[in-house]
Amino acid sequence: MTQSKITKQLVSTTINGEPVEFLCEPQQSLLECLRDILGLTGTKEGCNDGNCGACSVLLDGQLVNSCLVLGVEIEGRAVTTVEGLADWRGLHPIQQAFLEAGGFQCGFCTPGILIATKALLDRKPNPSEAEIRAWLSGNLCRCTGYDKIVRAVQAAACHLNTECEVDA
């Protein structure tokens, strides 16, 4: 099979709640499609092999590394990227909590960590510190030493959870 036979494929999907159509080649990762075709550069490329979590997105609500998903796989499905967190009211409570708690420094890991946090809190509104650390083990941060990230996740859980007493 020669390269000339590989044609672009049309992908119809939903990204951050909006219907989207794009053309891509089968070997292009979802990460490449988001960044290079759709201009959604909030999602970052760190390692391109599943280890760093900078490329985290939600696929039908499930946390995945977009560097290990093919663009063609999202046909008919729904993707949420960091660009989909804020709405017309302003920042998402998770983003607000990271801002207030200083949950980032350079910010390169932050889009992935925000998305991973959303996936965690959607699943478990009140995670323990150990659960937060275990869940975020696939998201590497070179700057913060993680403590402030954990505090930010705890604060976000509080904001999103009416029964929680704020102590963060």
Binding site: P26, S29, V64, L70, E73
Partner: protein, 288 residues
């Protein structure tokens, strides 16, 4: 990555036809957490990826107290680990499935891919072996069933022939007073490849003595290793610390570890002793 074409068949028959077509080099594609990484490194350049995640038989978990557990080859680790019957009846399998990667990898990685990738360090393979799992395989000449213990033949190599597709893993129903446990050693808390790992399964008789036992190891031989003699040495014995130590010593002797970036052969052999003993203790706790 090299260009390729992508197909997402919706039946086993269609998938086998695509895989068996010798005019192109095709490869099954499940979670892609091994395959895409290896393709980027240039290990393979398949011309066709056959996405197996849209085939109903590969996308199901079924538990029946008399038939046992069937896990479709495309079931993600996260799906498996959230399944109430699997959690209740096969905690030894959860030990392994829950440590393959972090939260994001868990949602894509499959036990089918872990087995077919045939890494010596594949965490689920020893757990599947000690639980007596068999692999259901479909191919151009029909369907066959292969014990997981015989599935891997060399690093990255399996018994699968051209055009063959892993459909499901089957695990026998849990027998009374039995328990399994899988443990691995990694230098950090999570997100790492095993330096060494050990799985153990025990069944006790009504008098509390061991009636059957299996021990299997990861990352200490070219393939996941079933140490039959270590299990057999336990049969008829009481589940005591001394008996577990004796079995652990047999496992240590059977291991053929190498030294690499993750650990030395001596460290691995030491770990086999510790992990086997602890996995036996864990399995014994679960017989209760």
């Amino acid at each position: 990555m090299q260009p390729f074409t992508y197909q997402a068949p919706t039946s086993v028959g269609e998938a086998v036809t695509l895989l068996a077509d010798s005019t192109h080099q095709a490869r099954p594609f499940a979670g892609g957490t091994d395959l895409l990484v290896q393709m980027r490194r240039g290990l393979y350049a398949p011309e066709l990826l056959v996405d197996v995640k849209h085939i109903p038989e590969l996308n199901r978990i079924a538990f029946d107290p008399t038939a046992g557990l069937t896990i479709g080859a495309a079931v993600s680790c996260a799906w498996l680990c959230d399944h109430p019957a699997v959690r209740q009846h096969y905690p030894g399998l959860i030990d392994a499935a829950s440590i393959i990667g972090g939260a994001a990898i868990q949602r894509r990685a499959t036990l089918g891919g872990n087995l077919c990738n045939a890494a010596p360090s594949g965490d689920s393979i020893p757990a599947l072996i000690v639980l007596g799992a068999t692999a259901t395989v479909a191919g151009p000449h029909g369907t066959r069933s292969i014990p997981v213990a015989d599935f891997c033949i060399a690093p990255g190599k399996t018994v699968l022939g051209p055009g063959e597709l892993l459909v499901a893993l089957r695990i026998p129903p849990p027998v009374p007073r039995s328990g399994a446990c899988y443990l691995r050693f990694i230098p950090r808390g999570e997100m790492d490849i095993a330096v060494a790992g050990a799985g153990a399964w025990l069944a006790l008789g009504e008098d509390g003595s061991i009636t059957d036992a299996r021990i299997a190891l990861s990352a200490v031989a070219p393939t996941p290793l079933w140490v039959k003699a270590a299990g057999e040495a336990l049969i008829g014995q009481s589940p005591t610390e001394d008996a577990f130590k004796e079995a652990a010593a047999i496992a240590q002797a059977a291991a053929r570890p190498i030294s690499d970036v993750r650990g030395t052969a001596a460290q691995r052999r030491h770990l086999v002793g510790v992990l086997t003993r602890r996995a036996l203790q864990g399995a014994y706790q679960r017989t209760k």
